[in-house]
Symmetry: C2
Subunit: 367 residues, 2 copies
C-alpha cells in the first residue's frame, strides 16, 4: 500500500513515487505545515492550487484541541480539514522537547506541562501512535527524544538509544495497515551515533526513514555533513524524510544528498511576515522600494498571487494590516517551494540536477 519506487537517480539525488491510500506522491516532495489542521491563511483549494501534493499536521496540537477522538468521530483528519490528498502527522516529540518548559523523560515516556493550559500530560510511544491512528494520516511518526545543539556525546547516545526502543514500541502498538509508520533517526551531529541508529532502525524495519534532530542550530555546514554520512546508511528502496528543513538553498543541497521528503514552516511563516521567496532571492514586501512597483512578486511565477497582484498592492495590504497580504504571500511561497521540487524532479530525471542546482543557487543569491 505504501510502495516506494525510484524512477531516476542523478548522483545521490533521487526521483521517485510514494504510493499512499490518498494518491501517489512524486518525490522529492515538500510538505507545507498545517499544524492545527489548516495551512495558515489558506483554504484546501489554495493549498492544492499552489501545487501541494501532501501536507503535514501535528498530532500533539490536535490531541490537545480539538482532541483526536473528535477528529475520528468527524471521519478522520482528511475529511475534517477537507484535504483529500496524503497527510503526514508528526508525533509532537519535537514540540514537546522544544516548546515545553518542564519535561521529565523516563523509559516509559515523557511527562510535560501543556503549553495550552499548564496541565501535566504523559506522552508515551503507545499514546503517540494511538492518537495518530485515530487522526488517520497516511504517514505517521513515532515518539522520539530530541536533543538540542550542542549536545554531549553521552547525552546524545542515551537519547538516540531510547528513541530506538520507543520506535520499536511504536511499531508494536501501530494498529492500522492503511497508515505507514516511519522511523526517526537521531544521534545529533555524531557520525557513530547516526550510523548506529540507522542500523538499529533498519533492523526493526520501517516503510520509511526520517532524519530528525537537524536544523536545530548546528548550521548549514554541519547539517550537510551529518546528512552526507547518514543518508547512505538508509535503504535505497525506502523514502528518506528530512524533518523541519529548510531554506530553498538547504533543500537543493539536501536533495543532492539523497533526501526525498521535506517539511518546514518557512514558506508559510515567512509569507505571513512579508517575506517572499523567489528564483532571484527574497523579496521583503514591506520595503519602501516596492511602494510603486506595478510588477508582481516574481515575474517568472505562475501562482495566483503573481498572476493577479502587484507588489504595490500587496505592500498596501501589509501596511494596513489586511490578512489578504499574508495570504497572498503564503500562496506564492508554497507555490515556489512546490515548483522548486518539481524542477528538481525534472532535473534529476534529465540527469542534470547538478547544473540545475548551481544555476538556481546563483539566481537566489543574485539580489
Amino acid at each position: 500500500m505504501f510502495e516506494f519506487r525510484l524512477t531516476a537517480t542523478d548522483g545521490r539525488a533521487r526521483a521517485g513515487e510514494l504510493a499512499t491510500p490518498h494518491g501517489v506522491v512524486e518525490t522529492p516532495v515538500f510538505m507545507p505545515v498545517g499544524t492545527q489542521a489548516t495551512v495558515k491563511t489558506l483554504t484546501p483549494r489554495d493549498v492544492r492550487e499552489a501545487g501541494t501534493q501532501m501536507l503535514l499536521a501535528n498530532a500533539y496540537h490536535l490531541a490537545l484541541r480539538p482532541g483526536e477522538q473528535l477528529v475520528k468521530q468527524m471521519g478522520g483528519l482528511h475529511r475534517f480539514m477537507a484535504w483529500d490528498g496524503p497527510i503526514l502527522t508528526d508525533s509532537g516529540g519535537y514540540q514537546i522537547f522544544s516548546l515545553e518548559g518542564l519535561t521529565k523523560v523516563r523509559e516509559e515516556g515523557v511527562r510535560f506541562q501543556s503549553h495550552f493550559d499548564g496541565s501535566w500530560i504523559d506522552m508515551t510511544p503507545e499514546r503517540a501512535v494511538q492518537i495518530q491512528n485515530d487522526l488517520g494520516a497516511d504517514v505517521i511518526m513515532p515518539l522520539d527524544e530530541c536533543v538540542g545543539f550542542p549536545c554531549e556525546h553521552e547525552a546524545a547516545r542515551i537519547a538516540m538509544e531510547r528513541s530506538v526502543r520507543w520506535a520499536a514500541r511504536c511499531k508494536a502498538a501501530h494498529a492500522r495497515e492503511d497508515q505507514a509508520l516511519f522511523a526517526i533517526v537521531q544521534g545529533a551531529t555524531y557520525r557513530d551515533l547516526r550510523e548506529a541508529c540507522c542500523r538499529e532502525m533498519v533492523e526493526i524495519g520501517f516503510p520509511g526513514y526520517a532524519i530528525g534532530g537537524l536544523s536545530v542550530g548546528e548550521g548549514h555546514d554541519l547539517m550537510k555533513e551529518a546528512l552526507a554520512y547518514t543518508a547512505p546508511c538508509l535503504p535505497e528502496d525506502r523514502p528518506r524524510y528530512l524533518m523541519g528543513v529548510g531554506m530553498p538553498e538547504d533543500l537543493l543541497e539536501c536533495i543532492g544528498l539523497g533526501v526525498d521528503m521535506f517539511d518546514c514552516v518557512l514558506p508559510t511563516r515567512n509569507g505571513r511576515t512579508g517575506w517572499a521567496f523567489t528564483w532571484t532571492g527574497k523579496v521583503k514586501i514591506r520595503n519602501q522600494e516596492h511602494r510603486e512597483a506595478a510588477r508582481p512578486v516574481d515575474e517568472r511565477c505562475g501562482c495566483y498571487t503573481c498572476r493577479n497582484f502587484s507588489r504595490a498592492y500587496i505592500r498596501h495590504l501589509f501596511a494596513v494590516d489586511e490578512i489578504l497580504g499574508p495570504k497572498l504571500l503564503t500562496i506564492h511561497n508554497v507555490f515556489f517551494y512546490n515548483e522548486l521540487m518539481q524542477k528538481s524532479r525534472e532535473a534529476i530525471r534529465g540527469g542534470r540536477f547538478g547544473a540545475f542546482k548551481t544555476e538556481a543557487l546563483r539566481g537566489m543569491r543574485e539580489q
Copy 2:
C-alpha cells in the same frame, strides 16, 4: 453608460438592471464592503464565487493609505485590487462624522483630525470627487454632512441643506463620464426634510439616489417609516441605494419599500466574529452545541464553506485562532446575502415577493 432599467415591479418592490462600464448589475443588489481595497479575508475570486456582482470601497481610507495617486498610477482601483466587476466608492463623509473625534464643519468643507496619524485634513466636496475620479470606481458618492440620532429638526435641516449645496458642487467638479455620481438624501427622521431633500436633489439631477443617515441608531421601525415616505419621492427610473443597511430582515423590508442597492459590513464583520447568517437564523459557531456537529453551517447552502466543512471544524478553527475560520464564515455570509438578493429578484419577477418575504422572515426567526 449607466442606464438603469426596471425589469419587473411587485407592489413597491423593484427588479432591474444597472449598466456600468464593468458590467451589468442585477438589482436588488448587495455590495460587500472592501474598505481598504480588499473584502477582509477574501481573495477577489472568493468574492466573485460568493455571488458578488459589485463591491464597495472607501475613498477616505484609500486617500490616506496608499493614497489615490498611487492607485491611479497602478491603473485604478479595479486593476489595483484585481476586481474586474463594478465598484462603488463611498466618499468618506460618514466615516469623518462618525469615526473622527474633532470635526469642524464650514460651508467650504469639513476639517477633521485623521484617525491614522492625527494630522488635520480639509475635506471639501471638490476634493472628495477628485479622490474618487482618481480611484476610478464605477459609482462615486458626494461629500455630505451626516447627523446622528437623535437630532433636532433645526440641526438636521442645516446639515441637509448643506448636503444639497455640496452635492451640487460635487456634480460641478465631477470630471469623468465613465463614473456615475449619485446624490445622497439626508434629513434624519423628519418627513418634511427628507421630502425637501429629494425634491432639491432631483432638481439638480443625478443618475442615482442614495438614502443616507439611516441605520444610525433610530431603530428598525423608524428606519422603515423614513424609507416609506422617502423612496416615493425619488424618480422611478433611477436606482435607489440605501447606505449601510443592514440585517437580512431589514434588507427584505427595504426591498419591499423599493430599494435597489445595499451595502453593509454585517456579513463580513459578523463572519469574522463567528456569527453566520442562515435561512433558519443565526449560527454562533463558537457555541458548545456545535462541537461535534458534522453538518455544515447551513444544509441548504451551496457556498464553498457549506459544501466542504463541518460546523465542528469551523468551531475548531475559531477555538485555536486560525484565520481560516473567519474566512470560511465570511465566504458563507457573503454568499448568503447575495443569495437573499437573488431570491428576492426572482420573487419580484414572479410577482410573489410578499409571500417570499413572509416565508423568509419566518425561517430566520425559527431557531
